[in-house]
């Protein structure tokens, strides 16, 4: 079994005031083809506000991931989809994180990312609604 932290970020499209990103990090133990245990989940929303702000940049994404992972009590290799880091080569992404990092490979890692995706998307939808953030495109 391997300890991983599956990461997903929702909200990369612009809404009226900027970008409302929600990052979900799930600490899990996985085998090659199954998630064996879900140990903890952390969620962190972040506003990138302002008309001058274009799309979130790679350092913004890396910082958001690092801050979300810092909320977890467990260690593990960070795993994301390649697209989440703008398809950067692995050596570029690896060098930007303080801990071990890799892109998803095995079935279990892909399933874990799917889990993190559902968490970040649902959390963002809920926050948009509860905080009355208008999603004016």
């Amino acid at each position: 079994m391997w300890d991983i932290i599956a990461i997903d970020i929702s909200g990369r499209h612009r809404i009226r005031d900027g970008y409302y990103l929600v990052c979900a990090a799930a600490a899990l133990s996985v085998s090659a083809d199954h998630i064996e245990k879900i140990k903890q989940v952390a969620i962190l929303p972040r506003w990138l506000k302002g008309k001058e702000i274009k799309a979130p940049q790679l350092p913004d994404i890396v910082q958001l991931i690092e801050d979300t992972v810092a909320k977890l009590d467990y260690d593990g290799t960070l795993v994301t989809e390649k697209g989440d880091l703008y398809n950067q080569p692995l050596w570029v992404s690896e060098s930007m994180f303080s801990g071990a990092f890799k892109y998803q490979e095995s079935m279990a890692e892909r399933r874990a990312i799917e889990l993190a995706h559902h968490i970040s998307l649902s959390a963002r939808n809920l926050l948009l609604k509860e905080l009355n953030i208008e999603a004016g495109q």
């Binding site: 391997w2 085998s31 090659a32 083809d33 199954h34 490979e105 095995s106 079935m107 890692e109 892909r110």
Partner: protein
């Protein structure tokens, strides 16, 4: 053969930059090449523009895959699947293709008109006809799968990257003579044979191999074939370990990518094939690299036929569970006929012939129920 690569972002007109295309044209001229194959996906206009400059045929890797498939397709169904894949590949390019043909005043396009629409419509009609035909084959397959499961047969599929040695392993396991070659996509038509697993009967299916970035239209076109893998009871994921470890990792990554969202909870056994071609130190180093991508791994050499009992043991452990019971039958002709039926349907571990016949028996639940009903019937 020459190889050319470019680091910068793809160019809209040529995919490569203009300078690189001219360099490519020089290579073509020096080598007298008849065809240029691009790894990247090319648009119709890019293919047209590059072939204008190079003066030879230009295809991308997807067209290459389709051409290999077309060559290997032998049955009516596989031919339909290849045609469907070709049409699905062509559909989004239909308008551009017609526009380019019209520009060059090719025969059949005599003047202005709505050719773009009609050509696209023709493609759509043909796609829908083929899909309908394949759908009926899919329904037949599903009915067959249900029937086989009812008969207590477990369905096992060989999956893996193309040219991993699936057909060789298939031949060795079921003592068959399926065609094997050291080239990709030798198997396009799935082949199923019975496999004896020490009393448990199973059906082993050899299937089409995977390839990196398997395009979705290809998966769609070969759905009825690939369903054989996705809907089986156990998947044997065959890996060629004699290759470079990084390549093995990439190929396993591709297999996981193809399988992960389609197989549900089906157990996977990773068959590390061709171990006769690798030293034990190299194998250890390889396992360090690919361990996280190799669930329930076993080593085999399909060609040499070694380690097969270990593979069969591993398969047995993952078969759907059977129930065990002890039956008491009268020592009469009726009792013997039930015993004979028990032998056919499950595993008889022990028989004691006395005043009554005592049988230690293992079979799937439905058979156990029926056996107990016979036992009660004969006791009355």
């Amino acid at each position: 053969m020459e190889k050319l690569s470019q680091v910068r972002h793809p160019d809209r007109k040529y995919n490569l930059g203009r300078g690189k295309v001219e360099e490519l044209a020089e290579f073509v001229q020096i080598r007298g090449a008849e065809i240029v194959i691009f790894y990247n996906r090319l648009s119709t206009t890019q293919i047209h523009n590059i072939s204008e400059i190079c003066g030879c045929r230009v295809i991308d890797r997807f067209q290459l895959i389709l051409e290999i498939f077309a060559k290997r397709a032998t049955t009516h169904r596989s031919k339909l699947q290849v045609e469907l894949a070709k049409l699905k590949y062509e559909l989004p390019r239909a308008r551009a293709t017609v526009s380019l043909l019209k520009k060059e005043e090719k025969a059949g396009f005599m003047g202005l008109g709505g050719y773009e629409d009609s050509y696209e419509q023709d493609l759509k009609k043909r796609i829908s006809r083929i899909e309908k035909e394949l759908k009926s084959a899919e329904i037949d397959d599903e009915a067959l799968r249900v029937y086989r499961r009812k008969q207590g047969l477990s369905l096992i599929s060989l999956a893996g990257y193309t040219n991993a040695g699936k057909s060789t392993l298939f031949n060795t396991l079921v003592k068959e003579n399926a065609i094997t070659m050291d080239m990709p996509f030798t198997t396009l038509v799935p082949m199923t044979r019975a496999l004896d697993l020490g009393g448990r009967k199973a059906l082993l299916t050899d299937t089409v191999g995977f390839i990196e970035e398997l395009p979705h239209w290809l998966v769609d076109a070969f759905k009825s074939t690939l369903d054989g893998i996705f809907l089986s009871d156990i998947i044997l994921l065959v890996v060629d370990v004699s290759e470079n470890p990084e390549l093995v990792r990439q190929k396993l990554d591709t297999c996981h990518d193809t399988l992960w969202d389609r197989i549900g909870g089906v157990p996977i056994i990773t068959v590390l094939n061709k171990i006769d071609l690798i030293s034990s130190e190299a194998l250890e180093a390889l396992l360090d690299k690919i361990g996280h991508l190799a669930p329930n791994y076993v080593f085999v050499s399909a060609k040499e036929g070694t380690w097969l009992p270990e593979l069969k043991d591993e398969i047995r452990q993952h078969l759907p569970e059977w129930e065990s019971c002890t039956l008491s039958l009268p020592n009469s002709s009726e009792g013997m006929s039930v015993l004979s039926w028990l032998y056919e349907e499950g595993i008889v571990h022990k028989v004691d012939y006395g005043e009554r016949i005592l049988v230690d028996y293992e079979a799937r639940t439905e058979i156990i129920y029926r056996a107990k009903a016979f036992e009660m019937e004969l006791a009355e």
